[in-house]
Structure formats: C-alpha cells, structure tokens
Symmetry: C2
Subunit: 334 residues, 2 copies
DNA sequence: GCCTATTATGAAAGCGCTTTCATTTATAGC
DNA sequence: GCTATAAATGAAAGCGCTTTCATAATAGGC
C-alpha cells in the first residue's frame, strides 16, 4: 500500500497538504488539489485508517457487543445497526459476549482498545456497577435491552413486562384459565420481566400463580421441547393436557414446544393455544403461524445507532426514544 | 486510558521493557516483571491496539465480508468464524457487501485500510479479475462459496451442483415425474449451479426440462410465495397442480412456498413434496419439517478461519478441505 | 510597484506502541 | 578480585497519519 509520503513526493507537495485534501480540513488551491488527486489515483492510495485513528484518536467505527452472533434475533439487530452506520459513513466492529461475565468484560476492553468511538452493548452478565464505572471513564456507550437506573439516559429497552402481560392477558380474555409458561433463564432480566407481566395479568383476572405450570427453559428450541414434555407429563390426566394455553419466553422455545405438541397429535390451536415472544423472522414459517409478541428489535437497533450518531458524532437527530412498547402479533396459533 | 509512558514511569523502567513484558518478546528479569505488572494493574493499563497495529503492521484481526448480516445463513457463518478466531485470540471485523459490486469493493478496501491481517470474503458481485488483482497485491484472503479458477487454493466451496442433483434425484427415485423448481437469482453462481444439478438428475432419468416448471425467485420468502403462485397458476387444471414435487433453491423460498401451499389446502407431502436447500436453522420449525439439502455452512466458516490461521498466523493446521459435499436431510415434507 | 491582509503551503512534533542497536548489569571462570 | 561472556535494559527511530505554528505566495488597495 502506498503511503502518504509517496503521494506527497509524487505530487510535489508536503504531507500536510495531502492530509488537507483528504480531510477537507483546510482550503487547498484547486490546481494543487488536482495534482494531489492525480497522484493518489496513480498510486492507488488509500489512507491507512489505523494511522489516522492513532493520530486523531477517532476511528469512525463503533463497537457492538451482543450475546451471540447467531440466531435470528441478534442478526437482525446487528444488521440494522450496521445499515444505519453505513449510511453515516461509519463502520462497525462486532463481538460476542456469550452471556459470560469475563468474556463480556474482555470484549468491551477489546473494543475500547480498538479505539471505537462508541459502543453499543447488549450485555447480560456484567454488573451494573461495572457499567457505571465505564460511564465514569467517559466512554461513550449505549445499553440495549437492559435498564440501569443510574444510566437511564443511555439505555434503550423494551417494556418486557408489558409484553408478558399482553400475551397472557390476551389468552385470559379469550377465556383460558389454565395457562402454562415456559420462561427463559430467570437470571436474565428480560426473562424475569416477561414472567412478571404474565403474573400481573393473572392477578388482574384473579387467577393464582400455579408453579406446576411454570418451567424455566433456556431460550433455545430445546427449552421448549423439554418444557413442554415436563409440563404435560405433570399435568396430563387421561392423556389430556392440564392447560389449554402456553406462553413461551421466546419464539424458539415456542417453536420447540409446538413441534412436540404436533408429535403428540395435539391440534393447535384447537387443543392448545401457543404464544411466543420476539416475533423473530421464522415465526410465520411455523404451522400454524405463531401468535407472538413483537419485539421491535430493528427499531431498537436503529435507535441505538442514532443515539451514537447524535451524542458522539454530533449529528442532528431529533428525539431518542428510550423505551419501546411491544405489541401482540395475532396469528394462527391461538 | 493510561499509556505505556505512564506505566514506564511508575514502574521506573523504559518503554522497551514494558513492551517486552506485554509481548514476551525478550526475557525480562522476574523482579522487574513483577514491578511492571503491578504498575500496569495499578493504572488499569491496556495496550492501545491501534498503536500496536501501526507499529507492527499486524492487527490480530481478520475482516469478514458477507452479503448480508441478517438471516440464518450468514449469521451462522459469522458466528462460527468468530468462535474459531476467538479461540485463537484473534478478532473479527464484519462488513456487509449487499451483493452490490461497488459496496463490495468499498468494504474490501475498508477492511484492508483497517489493517486486517486477512480477509474472509463472501462476495457475489465483484469480478474474478478484481479478486485476482487483489491476490497479486499480496493480500491474504480466502473466498467462500465461490470458485475462482486462478485462485482455487484459496476458495472454499460447496458442491452446489451436487446438492441440486441430490434433491431432484431423490424425488425422481421416489417416482415423481413432474418436478417444479424455484431458483434463486440465476446470476448468482450458487443458484445456477444448483439448477444445473437439477437438470443433470432429470437427464439421468430421461426427463426433459420443462421451462414452464421453472421460476426464478430471489432467495427470499417472497420468492417462494410468488414462485408457487406463478407455477400453480400455470399448471392447475381443475384446481389440480401440474406437478407433484417442488425443489426450491433455498429454505426461505421453500418455507414461503409451503405456506402458500397450506393456504391452498394442499396436504404436504401427500399432494406435494417439497425440498429446500441450506438446512437453515428454522427448517425444522416448519410443518411438516422440511426435507432439505444440508449446507455445512458452519464447517465451511470454520475451514475458512483455519485457512487464515494456517497461512497467515502460521498455526499448525493439518489439512484444509476446499470443497464440501452437501447431503440430503430427509424429513417430513416428502 | 509597494505594502498590507489574506490565503495556501510546509516543517515538525506528536499519537502509543515496537524494535534495533548500544549499553549496562549480572554470571561465571580462573 | 578481575576479566570474558551472557543476560537484561534503555535510547531512539520509525509505523502513517494529523495538526499547530510559521512561512511563503497571492490578492487587494493605493
């Protein structure tokens, strides 16, 4: 790769001038500009962004940390964030924290050492205190899908409890009385919030929590499979299910449960109604199509990107919405 | 962030020594090492990897360029590549080329200007010549899912034609005679190869190509929806389908077609057999579960990562497999 | 055509690190 | 205890760029 020195020599000007035409940071006479551009072209010159970054302490790139790179949920999130930044001429560096505290920390440090201008964090294991410290170090970052009270101005979240409420309330309104629940790992904030919403709805309808209708899964398909097996084993008298509806903490688990229900010869929604959560891309590939709670993940990603654009790159962004509302996507599984 | 200078001052040694304990590039007396480590810890020092990268011309990061960040296919690919590199202490920088030539070029240049030690490219629009030039510039990169004859030692591909063959041959063996085909965009290499395999199987069974049974879709769900509508409109006499089986260029389109077929009251597999391609994560969430061709995308990603580990980071990797074989995943849709 | 007010350009330091080469310090041999 | 050798350390240049400050070129006014 040609360096700025070679360009300068070829064009017969100094480094500073080259830099000025690259960055338009000061006026350059038209004639010299043309010379420089010709030289750059001839050498196929491209500024070394590492050197630029070192000199300016800016990298024009933002770090994104998610739990996993795979899966429909994160990939949609990442995809949207990238699109938003690409529009603005910024780039993304992506890392996965795997819901593991050490890894999350390590990744954050990596992204910081990479001189990212800002971070977008979807972290689950690192403590609130750690994040607060980070904020005190004056690092620019937004948090997605988690609310830290002291950092509320930089948290972009979904009202998970409302989502859980909507799912269950809908079923109750439909007349269901015995509603099973397969949750994600309860230590994860979103999982427990969703369940809270479920309980809230039950309470409103004067139905008591029945923990035999509860199963804590893993947010994966297998969680749904095992959960359904577990719940139905417990509750089937005369091969009949002990519940008429099932709420799942996310769509993967709903799909897993649905598959097992099919295998058992159950007719959905006739014998059993199922509601998922997330409205992930494949949720309308299931049969019957899954009724679920829409998680506007793309919009949240977009908003996080805008937060960065506004606060770090000083772009003129109107309003940053920090709490998003989920809504029920009524399809065929109820 | 503390710099190496501050650490040096605090520890009472020179920069060089600090550098040596960080990189273990030369022996350091145990006692000074301890001093240095204490100083680093006290200051919360982390080497600035941008500066490191500038000084060493190495970044310990590899660039990945895929067509899209979203979707099950790419996210699995990325996820596996990242996992492989994380194990090796390397990091990934991800970009999306959106199947658009200009964007692909621009992204490649970006990744190069970022000083990536190597690139893993999944590009569709950039020309073979461009890639060859890149190779001549002595840039380390592997190409995924595309074979460029002159660069065959750095291409890792799936035998797409074999996949197409397997799908159709299976149906023919089952006795199907009229097999419709919904393809991806034919300008994309993998789409046309798959179709080639389809034709090859037909030929083997002495069945002539019937272009009224062919539809060129977009590799998206909608392609399947429109494709099915198109094919069935053309062929239904007395509300009966003109074909008994349908091969789709990928699973998304298969899922789309399947949904429409359901809506039309068709019983799958009784009235119609469907085969997809890719064996993407949701393909067993469909109902009935989709028979498809397994695309070992994770393995391909892994192999690409190993190529880099071997050729760029000089790790001791045995064999690099460059062509992968697909296989039929027999499930319930046939 | 000369002086001043602008505007364009260049020289050089600095960003935080690595690495070579020279120097200092420790170790061993006698 | 003194030299010969090996081991540990430091000084300084360099990676490719930006940016400040000083200087050179130009334009304008008379």
């Amino acid at each position: 790769m040609a360096t700025i020195y070679e360009v300068a020599k070829l064009a017969g000007v100094s480094l500073a001038t080259i830099s000025r035409v690259i960055n338009q940071t000061a006026p350059v006479r038209e004639s010299t500009k043309i010379k420089v551009e010709a030289a750059m072209k001839e050498l196929g010159y491209r500024p070394n962004s590492v050197a630029q970054s070192l000199a300016t302490n800016r990298s024009n790139s933002v770090g994104i940390l998610v739990s996993e790179l795979g899966g429909p949920f994160y990939s949609e999130l990442i995809s949207r964030i990238e699109a938003e930044f690409r529009n603005a001429g910024k780039h993304v560096i992506i890392a996965a924290g795997h819901s593991h505290e050490e890894v999350e920390r390590e990744r954050i440090e990596f992204l910081m050492s990479r001189n990212c201008d800002a971070l977008i964090l979807h972290v689950e294991s690192v403590s609130d205190e750690y994040l607060q410290e980070l904020a005190e170090q004056n690092k620019a970052f937004v948090i997605i899908n988690r609310s830290v009270a002291a950092l509320s101005d930089r948290c972009i979240t979904l009202d998970n409890q409302l989502g859980g409420y909507l799912a269950t309330e809908f079923l109750l309104r439909k007349g269901h009385k015995r509603i099973a629940y397969i949750s994600g790992p309860m230590w994860k904030n979103d999982a427990s919030e969703r369940y809270k919403g479920h309980l809230q709805a039950l309470k409103e309808y004067h139905i008591e929590e029945d923990i035999s209708l509860f199963y804590e899964g893993d947010f994966q398909e297998t969680g749904g499979v095992h959960g359904f097996a577990h719940l139905s084993a417990k509750h089937s008298k005369h091969s009949e299910l002990g519940f008429t509806a099932l709420v799942c903490g996310n769509d993967e688990m709903a799909a897993g449960a649905m598959a097992v229900a099919h295998d058992r010869g159950l007719d959905i929604p006739h014998d059993l109604s199922i509601v998922g959560f997330d409205n992930v891309n494949f949720s309308h590939y299931t049969y019957p199509k899954l009724t679920t709670i829409d998680y506007p993940i793309a919009e949240i990603g977009q908003m996080a990107a805008r937060w960065v654009l506004k606060h770090v790159y000083k772009q003129d962004i109107e309003r940053i919405q920090s709490v998003f509302k989920p809504r029920l996507m009524l399809r065929d599984s109820c």
